[in-house]
Subunit: 564 residues, 2 copies
């Protein structure tokens, strides 16, 4: 960029830089193929780094990845909205709002459990590949057949404030291409999700992704040389149009079907990229949680509530980033690159250690590949950190460190808990006397199941009635005589009209008589499917449980009966 600004960029330099970047992409592709075979159960950067280099590098890689998934959502959605705005510039003023709405929409679809079925995935993917290749081919054709000196883009953008130099375009599209690199990480993390033979299929995907990336990159690099009037603005500028949209205008003409097609296909693929992050983020979180660096529930990927928490967390974080950075891609991309290349470097370094340890057949060659990969990705990480430090790379660095510290804090807490809970000698098997108390607010059919349950767990159980309304007491007592199956009923007065307090007092009173006792308070609970019926029912069990929080010898069980 400095060279560009100084006007010293020449064709040679661009060719060299393009070759380096292609080498980098190929390198990353090859070395991740190795990782897939070495870790067929999923080998993201966190696993590879922590397995081979130890906990700390693993956690740094994990932190970098978690941050990157958040950025993937923020960047992909912002870039998707940028594609849309290139087609409909009048929406530019509400760019940030649109992006946040899209983040919420994608999060909501994931909460609803809309998973990536083949069709949903394939349609935008092939649609986008088709669109971008058609654009590149048409552009190239027009460039080759254009009369000399007539290479002016048919864009409706006026004013020549910033005609982009070709090198600049190459660098910018590489930066944007980094988003695709997280895709590589996603593949290696999720090998298990592929159809069998999983490792082989994952490798094929990885190779095709790399190939597509290179072709698109080279194509854009070539065109940038021959379409000198491409204009680049920050996407916070109303005149901003994506590079792709400018190419599409040149290829198919402004406001043509091809133009709109490319914009919408780009938007679709980017929203899908964001969606992928919603699937991968909980996966990385589960690996970390399994090892005690995140709250343990996150390890239970298969449980809806837990999965939901991860989605909500990711959605909120991504929406906040979009809001804070006004969806400006130039601000978000440097943050992003730091995380990707940090994770890549640690993963590659981990693979070096892996080969040294394993010494399987051909390990020297594999190790050599990974050494080159480590040096390349490490160099990129350092260069970005140094050159872009003040442009925002420091924010990524700080975030990664904070998340790393969070992991450490969680782990420390779990270690402290484990110490408290350590079992070093078998505890004497204590015999408790068990008493079941059945709460009977009114006598009706719903009570019967709870009564049977109470009798099953304690043949000498007691029924307990708290008098909230003195007028109904005689009726309750008469009914109980008739339907109570001989279980004795205790009536507790409630001067302050509390249902909870008298039960607590009664339990305390019984406990005092015999401390070696455990209680089960059995609460009949109505269950209904309609929301308005839920408003009429009381979740007494939960309230009792909360009220009993400090009493160690009481458990609360609700026995549900079902309402139509």
């Amino acid at each position: 960029m400095i060279l560009v600004l100084k006007g010293q960029a020449d064709l040679n330099l661009q060719i060299w830089i393009t070759i380096s970047i292609i080498a980098l992409i190929v390198m990353i592709g090859i070395s991740y193929t190795q990782t897939i075979y070495a870790y067929p159960k999923g080998g993201g950067s966190y696993i590879v780094a922590s397995d081979n280099l130890g906990a700390t590098p693993g956690l740094i890689a994990g932190a970098a990845l978690m941050i990157d998934y958040i950025l993937t959502v923020a960047v992909s959605i912002s870039a998707g909205v940028a594609a849309f705005i290139s087609a409909y510039p009048s929406f530019h003023p509400i760019m940030v709002e649109l992006s946040i709405a899209l983040v919420i929409l994608v999060a909501w679809l994931n909460l609803r459990g809309v998973r990536e079925s083949g069709a949903v995935f394939a349609f935008p993917t092939y649609g986008f590949i088709l669109g971008i290749f058609a654009t590149l081919i048409f552009c190239t054709y027009k460039v080759l057949h254009a009369p000399p000196g007539n290479q002016v883009l048919a864009s409706n953008i006026v004013g020549g404030e910033m005609l982009a130099a070709p090198l600049f375009i190459v660098l910018r599209s590489f930066a944007a291409g980094c988003t695709a690199l997280t895709g590589i990480e996603a593949v290696s993390d999720g090998v298990q999700s592929f159809r069998e033979p999983a490792a082989k299929n994952a490798r094929i995907v990885l190779q095709r992704m790399t190939a597509l990336l290179i072709v698109m990159f080279v194509g854009i690099g070539y065109l940038s040389q021959h379409l000198p009037v491409l204009k680049l603005y920050s996407n916070s500028d109303p005149r901003y149009r994506t590079l792709t949209s400018q190419l599409a205008v040149y290829a198919f003409g402004d406001r043509s079907f091809g133009f709109y097609y490319v914009q919408f296909a780009t938007m679709a693929i980017l929203v899908l990229a964001a969606n992928t992050a919603f699937a991968d983020f909980p996966r990385v979180a589960s690996f970390l949680a399994r090892d005690g660096y995140l709250p343990r529930p996150f390890a239970r990927q298969g449980d809806r509530l837990v999965f939901h928490n991860g989605i909500i967390l990711l959605g909120l974080a991504a929406a906040s980033l979009v809001f804070i950075f006004h969806g400006e891609l130039d601000l978000l991309l440097p943050l992003y690159a730091i995380g990707v290349f940090t994770a890549f470097t640690l993963s590659q370094a981990g693979m070096i250690a892996h080969w040294r340890k394993l010494k399987s057949e051909g390990w020297q060659k594999s190790m050599a590949i990974n050494i080159v990969g480590t040096v390349l990705t490490g160099a990129v990480a350092v260069i970005i950190l140094v050159t872009k430090f003040l442009d925002g790379a420091w924010i990524a660095a700080v975030l990664i460190i904070l998340v790393f510290l969070l992991f450490k804090a969680v782990k420390l807490r779990y270690i402290a808990m484990a110490k408290q809970l350590i079992l070093d000698a078998p505890l004497p098997a204590r015999e408790y006397k068990h008493t079941a108390l059945l709460l009977v607010p009114r006598v009706h059919r719903g009570i019967v199941k709870a009564l049977n349950y109470a009798k099953a767990v304690d043949p000498n159980c007691q029924a307990v009635h708290v008098t909230l309304d003195e007028r109904s007491l005689p009726q309750v007592q008469r009914d109980w005589m008739r339907y109570g199956q001989g279980v004795p009923m205790v009536v507790l007065n409630s001067p302050y009209r509390s249902l909870i307090q008298p039960v607590l007092d009664y339990v305390d009173q019984l406990s005092e008589q015999d401390p070696d006792q455990v209680f089960t308070v059995v609460v009949p609970e109505a269950v209904s499917t309609k929301w308005y019926q839920k408003l009429l029912q009381e979740n007494v069990a939960a309230q009792l449980k909360a009220a009993l929080a400090q009493r160690k010898n009481v458990a609360v069980t609700s026995v549900r009966y079902f309402m139509e």
Copy 2:
């Protein structure tokens, strides 16, 4: 008001109107004293009307009252803010925001459980009475000793846009005084809360309230004749100053200590009035809930969660009203009066029926009082409804009808539920086989209590371990051999890393083998007092319970262990 506007109001008319209003207040005072003695356990309009006139009139009274408590909060707080703004007019633009903030503050104090201790109550009450009487006395003194023709108020309000006619002032202050009338309702509803002898003390309070009301009312009526330059604006007008503040300026001088004292004392007493509504609203709700017209939990006044729901409901409703009506007292007061007088009329009519039925000593005299009361309050209700119908009285009428329909709907639902749950013949006592399943995520000290509990409720219980992380399985099995007290352990695989699903499947599998079985899933649950520790722990019990929602034969019990 029409007379005032036509300029036909004369002194005679004002005197007659003043006398009628005083008669009305006295009448209400006397007849409520009768109610207190007839209903020493609390005789609000709802109870008296439903007891003597039947369900429908009772429910209308109840609906009117519920609406009125909401309005009490909205009106008192808005009026309190008006007093403050009279002292600090620069706050006028944020009048509505201030009012809503105050509503939230009072609601929050009530949620926190700040109750009306004697001191908190007494200080603003006596402070206000002192302030208002001093104002009236000083004004009267100045009026009597003022040189003729010099009766100009030392107000800093300029411009004569609306010099208030004395009659108008009398009517307006009567409307405002209606807020005080709900206080009468509050006393008769809450007789039980008084110190013994409760009925006698309640009567004394009632008499003193009535007396104070009359004295203030007559005082203001008198002064309105002799201070002809009082100015009245709607409180949405920045020039608005409360009547009291204008009197205080005349009495003590603008910006004097006395002036500020009266404003703050007025504000304090009005905030306290709002606070009283927060205590009374749940009480009326509990009477209605006891009879099945509101969700039953509301009957449990003594339980914190329920009480909180009432407070939040009242706070939200009042804040919405302030927001919708921009805190404009002239819009809120007609709504208010409809509710009060509807409730009063029904209560009085109920008392007529009460005496006719009871025929206790002197019942004819008591009945005569209540007949006069019914006619008077009924006439006021009708007059306000008719004359103010388009000014907002229709809103109150609609709200009362809606709440009435809500009561009916709740009752219908409870009747339907009761029908479903009716027990007409003793059900055969069914003998269930009971099986306890102890969930063991890891083996540690926290498990031991749950294990003992499981053994107490089912000597043949089973431990269940769901494998989320294959690497830790051998350790879990070794530990269980050692510390499991001989309870057998079942290991369930979880291919999708769910903790919940395998348990459900296992329960289903066991149920199929023997349908006449009930299960208790015992879940050890860590309890800690620090919020950040809570984030690290899983409420598996609640999640299991939710997942088991449709299974009728499974109960979930969490046995808690305590973390430091």
